[in-house]
């Protein structure tokens, strides 16, 4: 019993976002009657899976000390490829091509960051504009619709009563958590992000790790594009606009440092779910969607402020 309380305490200190999630659940359960419902929680998981999948890959990139602003554009490209090509080469191949496009663009971003030494922010800012241009040129500014109903059926299907997309997200989150916390690549990802020069001196191959992480990020962005298009049965060239902002917000809420070297999938999961619950809860409370934008922006800044205060206090205590 004592260890359980101790565990809970350390979780709150290390992952304060989960405290926030718990608080949100309590508040929304008391203020709306439909919030505390199994069906609603399945709903939240499906709704958050898109941003969540992007955030899983992006967490690796950010812990690695880089950033990827192009994930929203990559999502759109993968979705358009997967929907447009399925009438000519079939669903499995079309989805594969869509996912590959994400991996290839991730590899390109990673190689450029590694070899040129240009900051990832600039490289992926360029890619964000360029890939979005590619999407518009490819689609000729048209939307695509999935002609095969099997595609859209997948997006709404369930396995053992749990929505397939929610299940996919949770399983992949567990897998990525394992890779980040248990594998050599995961440990080196932290090392490179924490102190790149020290990692180089320690003989870690910094470049390949960065490229792999950008490929992971690209893959997950593309996967999010595919799953989103199965939910809609369609893909539009404007898909995924501002998604990179939401993903970064979720990751920062989850405690990953922008400078790299710190963060976790558990935290990111908390950030993603916090945003999902907030949106869902405010929706149930019938808060107009315009106000939600203001509230989300304010929360992001407030969390940054609180985080700074808490960390500063810790530093001061250390000095004393």
């Amino acid at each position: 019993m004592a260890t359980l309380a101790h565990k809970a305490k350390s979780l709150v200190i290390e992952q304060p976002i989960w405290l926030f999630v718990a608080a949100c659940i309590v508040v929304f359960s008391l203020s709306t009657e439909h919030f505390l419902d199994i069906g609603n929680f399945k709903n939240i998981l499906v709704q958050t899976s898109t941003i969540g999948l992007i955030a899983l890959g992006l967490t690796f990139i950010m812990i690695n000390g880089n950033i990827d602003l192009s994930v929203g554009a990559v999502l759109a490209l993968a979705a358009c490829l997967a929907v447009d090509l399925q009438s000519s080469i079939g669903i499995p191949l079309a989805v594969t091509v869509g996912l590959l496009s994400g991996v290839v663009l991730g590899a390109l971003n990673g190689l450029v960051v590694w070899k040129t030494g240009v900051d990832a922010f600039i490289v992926t800012l360029g890619a964000m504009i360029g890939v979005r241009g590619l999407v518009f040129v490819y689609t000729e500014e048209q939307s695509f619709y999935a002609t095969d109903f099997a595609y859209a059926d997948f997006g709404t299907s369930s396995i053992a009563g749990i929505p397939t997309l929610a299940l996919l997200f949770v399983v992949l989150a567990a897998l990525m958590h394992w890779i980040l916390s248990r594998s050599v690549h995961g440990r080196n990802t932290y090392a490179v992000g924490g102190n790149r020069q020290a990692a180089i001196d320690a003989g870690i191959r910094v470049g390949p790790h960065m490229v792999i992480n950008f490929m992971i990020g690209g893959f997950f962005a593309a996967l999010a594009g595919v799953t989103l298009s199965t939910q809609m049965g369609a893909a539009t060239p404007n898909l995924g606009r501002d998604f990179e902002l939401w993903a970064i917000t979720a990751i920062v809420l989850g405690g990953t440092k922008l400078t790299g070297g710190a963060g976790s999938i558990v935290g990111t999961l908390g950030g993603v779910i916090a945003i999902g619950i907030l949106r869902n809860g405010m929706n149930l409370l019938q808060v107009p969607s315009f106000y939600v934008l203001v509230i989300m922006g304010t929360i992001l800044i407030a969390v940054l402020f609180i985080d700074r205060q808490v960390n500063r206090n810790a530093e001061q205590e250390l000095n004393v």
């Binding site: 590694w114 360029g126 504009i129 241009g133 040129v137 606009r241 922008l258 107009p288 922006g297």
Partner: protein
């Protein structure tokens, strides 16, 4: 200092050649600019004309005007991603208030609100020392929401478009030159003077270049950073006046994505995102290059969005060239 050391080490001629190539690389953006002009002139006979050039500069004036303020913020060592939302907000506000309280009141009130938002940014980043990327990201979302709340999701427009002097800012001509161009270049001239020839400008550079050293030298970093955000809000408000006056109406998301195009122009101009270096002139060249690429590709018959693909390559190549010249090697050395 480091230049002299390397000169002594490597001796006369070699260092001269190195210096020459470094100079070429440093001015690579100008070389690229001239190359673009030449290539487009060869392939399109309509490209090389005064009329077309004026059109391009005029199209660049909105992004260019915002880029002036953002350049100052970036030199001060921070980022401002909220300018796109702020442009939407200011344009909607000035257009909507125009019919309610007249052009003078509309412009005045809009400027007050723009500076207020700039002050919030500046307070959070300058005085509370929060990360500028996340703060302005949050503000991007918040200002977008405020704009939508204000308009109720509707678009706004000015009823009597012929009988108002407000049209002057976006559609007027003075001495045969379009007014947006005059506003853009006028503000640029003032900003360049302030940055290069006043103590204020010098302080912005030192605060961005080495914050700790600046603070130990008695500069008030928080106050300087605060002021840079006021300036970027001000230039964004000026851009909103041009935009609102030209369109005589506004969609509530008109500025969406502008922050990226502005930042692309600033980066292309060679202003370091780390702060402490950069110039308004180079930013203007950066913005004009993007505008000329757009114009040239359209004249050559490419689809509108092809320019974004070229922008992608140009941004990375420009920054790479700059880094490679200071590094002295094309590729990084770590594996």
């Amino acid at each position: 200092m480091s230049d002299t050391i390397s000169e002594i080490k490597s001796g006369g001629e070699a260092s001269l050649a190195k210096k020459y190539s470094q100079l070429l690389a440093r001015q690579g953006i100008l070389v690229a600019f001239v190359l673009f002009l030449v290539v487009f002139s060869i392939f399109s006979d309509r490209f090389l004309s005064t009329d077309n050039f004026m059109t391009v500069i005029r199209q660049a004036s909105i992004i260019g005007t915002i880029a002036i303020g953002v350049t100052i913020v970036v030199i001060g060592g921070n980022l401002d991603l909220s300018v796109g939302s702020l442009l939407s907000f200011c344009t909607v506000l000035v257009v909507d208030l125009h019919d309610k309280i007249g052009p003078t009141g509309a412009i005045g009130l809009m400027l007050v609100f723009a500076l207020l938002i700039g002050a919030i940014n500046g307070y959070l980043i300058g005085y509370l020392k929060l990360n500028s990327l996340i703060v302005t990201l949050g503000m991007l979302s918040a200002i977008q929401g405020i704009t939508l709340i204000y308009t109720g999701g509707q678009n706004v427009d000015i009823q009597n478009q012929e009988g108002t002097w407000f049209a002057f800012f976006g559609r007027g001509y003075l001495w045969g030159i379009a007014v947006p161009v005059l506003i853009f270049l006028g503000l640029a001239l003032i900003a360049e003077f302030v940055l290069k020839a006043t103590t204020y400008g010098r302080k912005v550079f030192s605060v961005g270049g080495n914050p700790a050293a600046a603070v130990f030298s008695g500069l008030r970093r928080n106050r300087m950073v605060f002021s840079t955000y006021l300036l970027s809000a001000f230039t964004t408000a000026c851009a909103a006046i041009i935009l609102g006056s030209r369109v005589m109406g506004s969609q509530n998301n008109v500025g969406q994505g502008y922050e990226l195009l502005v930042l692309a122009g600033v980066i292309l101009g060679g202003t370091s995102l780390l702060g402490g270096s950069g110039s308004i002139t180079r930013t203007i060249i950066g913005v004009l290059i993007l505008s000329f690429i757009q114009n040239g590709l359209l004249l050559l018959g490419y689809p509108y969005y092809a320019q974004w693909l070229v922008t992608w390559a140009v941004i990375i190549l420009a920054v790479w060239l700059d880094i490679a010249s200071t590094r002295g090697k094309i590729f990084t050395s770590f594996s």
